[in-house]
Symmetry: D2
Subunit: 311 residues, 4 copies
Amino acid sequence: MALTGVLRPGHAQLRVLNLEEGVHHYRDVLGMVETGRDEQGRVYLKCWDERDHNSLVLREADQAGIDFVGFKVLDKATLDKLEGDLRAYGLATERIPAGELLATGERVRFRLPSGHDIELYAEKRAVGNGLQVLNPAPWTKASENGIAPVRLDHCLLYGPNIAEVQKIFCDVLGFYLVERVLTPDGAGNVAIWLSCSHKVHDIAFVEHPEPGKLHHLSFLLESWEEVLRAADIMAMNNVTVDIGPTRHGVTRGCTIYAWDPSGNRFETFMGGYQPYPDYEPTTWTFDGLGAGGGLDYPQRKLHESFLSVVT
Amino acid sequence: MALTGVLRPGHAQLRVLNLEEGVHHYRDVLGMVETGRDEQGRVYLKCWDERDHNSLVLREADQAGIDFVGFKVLDKATLDKLEGDLRAYGLATERIPAGELLATGERVRFRLPSGHDIELYAEKRAVGNGLQVLNPAPWTKASENGIAPVRLDHCLLYGPNIAEVQKIFCDVLGFYLVERVLTPDGAGNVAIWLSCSHKVHDIAFVEHPEPGKLHHLSFLLESWEEVLRAADIMAMNNVTVDIGPTRHGVTRGCTIYAWDPSGNRFETFMGGYQPYPDYEPTTWTFDGLGAGGGLDYPQRKLHESFLSVVT
Amino acid sequence: MALTGVLRPGHAQLRVLNLEEGVHHYRDVLGMVETGRDEQGRVYLKCWDERDHNSLVLREADQAGIDFVGFKVLDKATLDKLEGDLRAYGLATERIPAGELLATGERVRFRLPSGHDIELYAEKRAVGNGLQVLNPAPWTKASENGIAPVRLDHCLLYGPNIAEVQKIFCDVLGFYLVERVLTPDGAGNVAIWLSCSHKVHDIAFVEHPEPGKLHHLSFLLESWEEVLRAADIMAMNNVTVDIGPTRHGVTRGCTIYAWDPSGNRFETFMGGYQPYPDYEPTTWTFDGLGAGGGLDYPQRKLHESFLSVVT
Amino acid sequence: MALTGVLRPGHAQLRVLNLEEGVHHYRDVLGMVETGRDEQGRVYLKCWDERDHNSLVLREADQAGIDFVGFKVLDKATLDKLEGDLRAYGLATERIPAGELLATGERVRFRLPSGHDIELYAEKRAVGNGLQVLNPAPWTKASENGIAPVRLDHCLLYGPNIAEVQKIFCDVLGFYLVERVLTPDGAGNVAIWLSCSHKVHDIAFVEHPEPGKLHHLSFLLESWEEVLRAADIMAMNNVTVDIGPTRHGVTRGCTIYAWDPSGNRFETFMGGYQPYPDYEPTTWTFDGLGAGGGLDYPQRKLHESFLSVVT
Ligand SMILES: [Ca+2]
Ligand SMILES: [Ca+2]
Ligand SMILES: [Ca+2]
Ligand SMILES: [Ca+2]
Ligand SMILES: [Fe+3]
Ligand SMILES: [Fe+3]
Ligand SMILES: [Fe+3]
Ligand SMILES: [Fe+3]
């Protein structure tokens, strides 16, 4: 968690073109646990080892993409403090009442210059991970239902003005830059990976003309063998794979990119190192993203879909 | 890192009975990188993927054990602030001048009621992990020298008054309780695992009559396959194994405990989950530590050495 | 398979003290597939990736242990030829009619000088491994039910006269010696590992005064990560572990020994190398079995139960 | 090994455009051990865990490709017998004198209707795998030099008349069909995988108009984690990857295809199941090779290079 009290990405609301297809994908293939549905028809899911009520909310819509990403903060005082800091920085914020998302307290929402809506919240009902409270086993049967990631880990968003976005996350919310890709002329950043913890990324951005776009939502696996198992399960279920299994040079993470039935890209990955805010950020040249192995270390190429396919 | 600005356990000074045997063990068998020796004859080592100059300092002495454990903090202001907080709490602190440890800034030292010396410091020279700065590869040859853990991860200390110790770490330094083992009567804790991050432990304590004792220093591996490789390398080098390879029920970590040539226990481990301060701590009964699999999940027994052999 | 046409260990009949407890263990915990029960009340099981109808037959009895081990041979002509060779060697053989074991053809049985009954058979009904015939997936859901080994791999038997046993397997049935442990005086063998293939063992023997004893039946896993998963599942189901997870120095296999509810030891393991008959056998001294890591490479000790607990 | 006494693919002679580049690739990047050079300038290598003197022979030539593949047979009597059987079948055979290949006995060579030269030999000097003879460790330092496969495993050859080739291997040499891909009209086979053991393939063929072509030489790794390590090492050394890391649907093997500096494709892989001659062969439709995941199970596509790039 950041020194500011931002703990982690806690939820994301995703638009799917067909709700039941989306639920089938995220619950039965990815293997999340369905924890509720609300009056608006939204479906709530969590990864088996997450303890809060939900981390993924599916909303049926005419266009795929992401509605918002929410970060859990330590407590209500932190929420108030950070709202004040965001306003002081010059951003408009909005309060969304407790209960608007199931089992979730009041949220503070603001829009990034990249066009994405980000939320902060301090409360989400703990429902546990299905393990006994006393003397727990290390895992449950749910950890083998579908791909079964342990948690929603991060997302990669595409939009304009990521230099501005970086300042908001770093100067106001307490994140730090972990890795970056330079523009072809080396004058700025094409891509940035930001952490509020010692995860190699809690959120990441790529500079892109269209605002508010989603590149991928990412879910954490526990081993490279689980990445292979995920690949098998994707193939068994006719999930279209974009890239992988492979290793990203950026972050060292071992990954598969694939698409849900609505065309939203999702990632199942493991590994990467654990950075701290005193680390010098790692830098990739623009060529390094492709031929340098930044995107696909073994293949050393810039898969065309990486920069072009978003929702 | 904690909200207080405590980042991570950054160094430990270990007493070894024979310096060159100790160096051989930690450099050639464990596979750390030797980064320097000082006028006192102390030898400095780091894990291959650590970026600061040292994480382990070996000092030859007549008795094995641990001299101190140091936590890196964000910056000098944090160091000053935390020193003030420790004094306000009622603890005596001592300043050790910059340079007393090679490549390391000023340290603030205090003694825990368990008899252990803990240090805070804000500066240690970054020497890098041997990877190129631009477009780095994911690993170097050094990552396959010996067991080659990626970092010093945590230590488990034995001493009296751990309830008091817990208060200092949690109330002053910003740690939180991740797991604990109850006393046989359930009235208190026999063992506590504390985190200043989302590591499952940055430091841990077991209640023990003798003050200032070391149970183990722990080093992080990247996979269960690397744990097997570590076991093989230990056997090839006649390192005496205490427990493992196995899984701890506590923390879910997958581990080997073994002894260095001076009788100091060290651990090479991987895995475990990633907790946050909003998680309810996991509780083990005293019986759960043994028959419940807390110590050794497959074997479900309290190995006699666990509670009796310390340095 | 051996040049003689002996393919593999295909079935074993095990005595259990309580049938339903045995079925629960081998079907629900080990994760074999129950394929039938016969008029005698015997229960038939196979591993998920085996294609023949059964590999393990459970018979309720007052005393645990093994009734017989059967090897599948290429065809009926091979069966007849090998029966003739066994008789020519001086062993009595017995024909057991087709159907006495479900889905199994005629068997040729003979008793080893170690007191064990060995069978050869040419026919067992193929029932498949549950994968589609055309364009199969790499695995099925059954591969994650319980520990879910891929096959019955080998057994280790204890009894007298293993030098004689070795001659029968090698000179008559076409096996070869892969590894051996010398007696303390180095004059003979205490233990032998024999292969009819390039498996590191299809059957193994330890010299022991009591005839006809079972040390363990062994089941093959696909990775060291599956060995950890097996360990977890054993602990979750209160299966008593004898040794492991660890690596055998002998064969290099990575293993857990544990006991079924009747006290029969079973093994789940992976790995080891793939020998050929032109390889020089690997030799272990008697001390090498313990301190040399032959039994438990990381721990380098002769666990007391290894030589004393059999059924 | 086959019932005929054919043990395994024991050597292959590969043409490289530049000898020292080839040696660098196979010795320093793939990590084989150089065991000799002969008067013709050929370089001999073996995998670390192979016991015979050589398994790969590099010959500098103007055109890349494979000169011949040799299978080791049990003994000289087997060699004579198989030569007689090949002649009786109608194939011309040639004797190449002992010593023409370093450390290798007399070879019997014949040409397949696919245009490939195949050899049988009974003798190659055992040089061991570098482990001590008594009480060996499970591996040596050489097992971590470069990619470090344990053995030459199989090759895939492209040429005409593979139905004829299959008959020679199965009817004369004792191999059996493990998997096959049907022609688009389903009337014949486009590809066949043949085994003389319980390896999922000892040699494989794809129907192709040009005779004598090499698709890949394959080397065995021990785990999926080693496949990732191989991918990393390839990228670190600018080896061009063709496909992978991924799983083949055919054989279930987990693989990387890549090219040596001369354009010869090589594979590093692990896994797959272990078939026996009593198994029904697995069949893939022509579409199944691509969209069915036969070639690349996660990606479910027929990479264009698979059918077009050979040497
Ligand atoms: Ca898992
Ligand atoms: Ca590593
Ligand atoms: Ca499996
Ligand atoms: Ca290896
Ligand atoms: Fe990602
Ligand atoms: Fe520990
Ligand atoms: Fe065994
Ligand atoms: Fe291949």
